[in-house]
Subunit: 725 residues, 2 copies
Amino acid sequence: MKEKKFMTMDGNAAAAHIAYMFSEVAAIYPITPSSPMAENVDEWAAQGRKNMFGETVLVQEMQSEGGAAGAVHGSLQAGALTTTFTASQGLLLMIPNMYKIAGELLPTVFHVSARTLASHVLCIFGDHQDVMACRQTGFAMLAEGSVQEVMDLAGVAHLATIKSRVPFLNFFDGFRTSHEYQKVEVVDMEDLRPLVDMEALQGFRNRALSPMRPVMRGMAENPDVFFQHREACNSWYNGVEDIVSDYMDKISEITGRKYRPFSYYGAADAENIIICMGSACEAIREVIDYEAANGKKLGMINVHLYRPFSLKYLKEALPASVKRICVLDRTKEPGANGEPLYLDVKDALDELGLNNILVVGGRYGLGSNDTTPAQMLAVFENLALPQPKNHFTVGIVDDVTFTSLPVGEEIAMGGKGMFQAKFYGLGADGTVGANKNSVKIIGDTTDKYCQAYFSYDSKKSGGFTCSHLRFGDEPIHSTYLVTTPNFVACHVQAYLHMYDVTRGLQKGGTFLLNTIYEGEELVKFMPNKVKKYFADNNIEVYYINATKIAQEIGLGNRTNTILQSAFFRITGVIPVEKAVEEMKHFIVKSYGKKGEDVVNKNYAAVDRGGEYKMLEVDPEWSKLDISLSLGEGRGEVSEPAFVRLTPKTATSCQFLPSRKWQTAHGPAARRSSRNAVYRRLFPYGTQRTVSSATSAHTFVLTLASVRSFLTRKRKKGSWLLTLSS
Amino acid sequence: MKEKKFMTMDGNAAAAHIAYMFSEVAAIYPITPSSPMAENVDEWAAQGRKNMFGETVLVQEMQSEGGAAGAVHGSLQAGALTTTFTASQGLLLMIPNMYKIAGELLPTVFHVSARTLASHVLCIFGDHQDVMACRQTGFAMLAEGSVQEVMDLAGVAHLATIKSRVPFLNFFDGFRTSHEYQKVEVVDMEDLRPLVDMEALQGFRNRALSPMRPVMRGMAENPDVFFQHREACNSWYNGVEDIVSDYMDKISEITGRKYRPFSYYGAADAENIIICMGSACEAIREVIDYEAANGKKLGMINVHLYRPFSLKYLKEALPASVKRICVLDRTKEPGANGEPLYLDVKDALDELGLNNILVVGGRYGLGSNDTTPAQMLAVFENLALPQPKNHFTVGIVDDVTFTSLPVGEEIAMGGKGMFQAKFYGLGADGTVGANKNSVKIIGDTTDKYCQAYFSYDSKKSGGFTCSHLRFGDEPIHSTYLVTTPNFVACHVQAYLHMYDVTRGLQKGGTFLLNTIYEGEELVKFMPNKVKKYFADNNIEVYYINATKIAQEIGLGNRTNTILQSAFFRITGVIPVEKAVEEMKHFIVKSYGKKGEDVVNKNYAAVDRGGEYKMLEVDPEWSKLDISLSLGEGRGEVSEPAFVRLTPKTATSCQFLPSRKWQTAHGPAARRSSRNAVYRRLFPYGTQRTVSSATSAHTFVLTLASVRSFLTRKRKKGSWLLTLSS
């Protein structure tokens, strides 16, 4: 057994790493969040990297995704192994060519970082609406739920398409997997090369259009033969499931990680299981382990091979003990009686003679709505009810059509030695870049597993960013934001008043603030809520004036290296000397080209990262009054300006927890509804912008937003929310 | 009750007629078979026709269907009722905008003459692959199965979209419905105007983007609110089913024809039913009536409202007696475990607590594969088997993966006084145009119902055409080619040797041949098979030298009017004087602009259409040897030239009915397999081109076509088909 080789990378890099090996041509038109795949391949090609056949990939950027798909089709017809990378609307533009490519049985892999589709609004974030819009094209579909799975299984898509001639759409969750940094075990070209079916590959090349082997293709057919020929593909599709299964076995041998077309995880005698696809499977896995520790026997089927949908391998994965199944779809198809995976599973069970199993379905995670263990716990709780809710949503509060499940408190998950950190920054302030370096430093210089995810809104530069870092002794399966951090750094002092930056910070945890204040002035600046949290939870509080230090060094507003250095020094996640050495190593790598001066300034930033101070937490802060009232002050309430525009539409309403809401959400909701919904309504605690689940329809957004300006009063033990005008 | 108004038109004209009333803007990019809808609307607009609101429709042709959909979106945002017409790949290019239009709840109707999608080859013909590729977009979907249904229900789509705000995709079968001429009862603008929800319409107009009412729309959203807003459409979708049902009731009141979201037809206590969508429902209806006469109780649910898929109205339609359901899908989704309607019905029944009903699914009619009563009978026969085949095909012989059902002989259907005629012509020889005139003449001047369908291949001009005409005293539901004609006209004498032109011609029927021969020479020219058929079936045979007459008149090769005149004179379907008058009336209408000379020449053609002669049928012809052997003569075997190119790939194979085939097709197949398959293999009798269901894969079409050159030998009672090289 050869030594394992680890690298810290994101899902896009893992997919590009595999795709490069198998490609002779890549026709690209980069789109968020798939762009880095195309960019990586382009960069490697420019550097002369060789694919599995000793060639440099020919990369061609086209004028649109329609053109990219057409170029893929043409290139395949010419006998070149060709791939592309896309997502969302870009993938939709490829649909016409996908029918052609599949119809002509041309082997290719489209790597897709699944993203939602523009509907009521544009959204660059992740769900499965795009890939599900392609499930009828005749492409096989392979799904992965983590960076490691992308590394392990993307090759299966390439290998299986060559052998089966059926083209593959290989996908993983946009942002959550595509942009999550993980320390993963790398699959080498030498591991995969022996698995290529060279005879099938030669067959593909022999079928290339060539004056030497003249054939007619792509003609028109009439009603006399079209149907017969459309059916002639059946035997090729019938072969895919075993080819994929076989390659998964071979990959499992190489990696030691077991993969099946449908991978089962959980108790061998589970009665209630979830069937799901993509990154949420990792969170479900954590919940299964957590509940197993509580003596509950739960399970999950992680769907890797979604098309062709294999009854045989679904049956293989399904424990005989199963009585109830919840199918989770990360998509929404308005007007359908159920989402696609749900419909497929329902039919499959019936065809397997298992229609005694109760099946319900739900939607989750649309537009990268964070999918947490508490949500998955709620899904299992729903499934255990006498009459589980069907066609539910989880992760939002739907107080219009009452589809949502009640969700309890988040629970700290993760293996031994898990360290969780959050960094609040400003888009383009360098926080994200510094944190990427930090995980690489920790990943590359220690035995620790690490993960980094960066949440920012689509405004990007100048917008809100939050970096979520985890380090641990075991592989990290937490495919969601850090909700229970050990460490929080707030790089923008104003955020103390805008966001609930201390939320979830564990008792005895550490807080670092970048601020221009100190002493009494700092204490005066901090909101009562933050101070009370520090006192109540025994938080160690540090502060540093990185803004001033950066100016002194001559780095302008680039505080990132100073704060990164402070993070390493305060937390000691790795020895400080080692951290300093590695940070300086990365500075040379990142800024070396910009000259000695820039390098030296950053060196200085590393050194001066030690200039933080500790803030004495006054136990008296526990007694501070943090109740909110309208107009309490600029620091507590940020009133959206546009509310004032539309006073006519405002009405008052008793809002939560109304009897209707409680009835709709069942008895379990009563316990936690008030707290849960409060969090939902005021996601950042002091911010009063209510989620528009309260509006009848999103289209009238500015009208609906009137409702976001609320006053709250306790009245006879229930919350009364009154619109302000 | 006002007088019924009838007109003879095709489905495209019916859809355009309705669409025009409700449209202020039409953004178009015509594509077969939807082009005539856009062309009609364009023409009417040019003529200044007014819509329901007294306006002329603004028609704008764009640069592609992508542009047309974008223009629709923009026009809707500006508050104009907007529509478009498309099909196939054109519809696929609209998908991205469809998500936007649905997401923003903009009322529109896309009229689609459903067409297959280019996969292994291009095909311009009809099935539901295109509309099914849009079922996830959030558009409501309404389906019609006949020209009358298009006339009656297209308005429901327009009315319901205004009231519900959910956009509609209104579709009917490409070619079969879009290009079928039927005498239909016309729905007037005055019938529909009172049904418009003017308040909802005003709401739509008020929501238009305007500097007077500034709102933000089409923004980007982030993970914090996207999911909530995506779900906010639920209540709008929930409302659609009742709105559609309500409008159907109102339309039923006006027309006297009952429509429901799911329309049931058949025995109130049927146990075995078919669920289907589109024109095949009409053929199923005929089979149900035919079998009812045999004492069998069968039924059918005709799905009109496909999206939102309504459990409530499915339940309403379903007789309590139903035990078995066959769901027929006119689409194929390789890799899915079932086609869309099948999956929807399976889930719906389970959710309705009806999972004791056995459900199987099958595919039919891809690429306008003709869907006949015999096929639908085979579907009912399959459903009655102890273990009905699931995931079958019907209409082809699948001897590769053995999915197909065995199909028996075609049966003559149709109501009282049904007259069926077939006209074989050459593309652009005027046969089709003349027949369109003929049905209009018969439809407009008599109480008879009439139907005309024109089958031609995608070569169009210069290719093979066959006109299929039916006239009867009752509405005609035969949505398939004429298989049992009373009258056959062969306008091209060479076809006697190329196609089985007498096939299905009823005993005592009439045959008209356009030929340059007469007397002994004609008898010598005619193939034995044709002569024997005439003698065996007591056929009245006429011939005319229209080619010569046309030249004499100065019409060149335009024989159409002469042969049309001969048809009316020979058959006497309407009084000859009336026919002559009407033909001349149409000549003025068609050629008036071209001057008196052209009109007079065509008048002469009408008059000289009487110059046909009768051919004496010799009873001795019954004894003619019509067995086929390889190379029997140029007249009998048309050897495809390209077969000679690829001799290496030829192998011999015992073909039918092999034990494997029989096993796969069940006991019922044994009886009729030989005949049925023979017809399938040799669809035109003397033509030896075998359907490529025999090839392992269509992609190597020229290789597979080698197999088309076969010799046949009887061997021990089974057919031995040997490849010729």
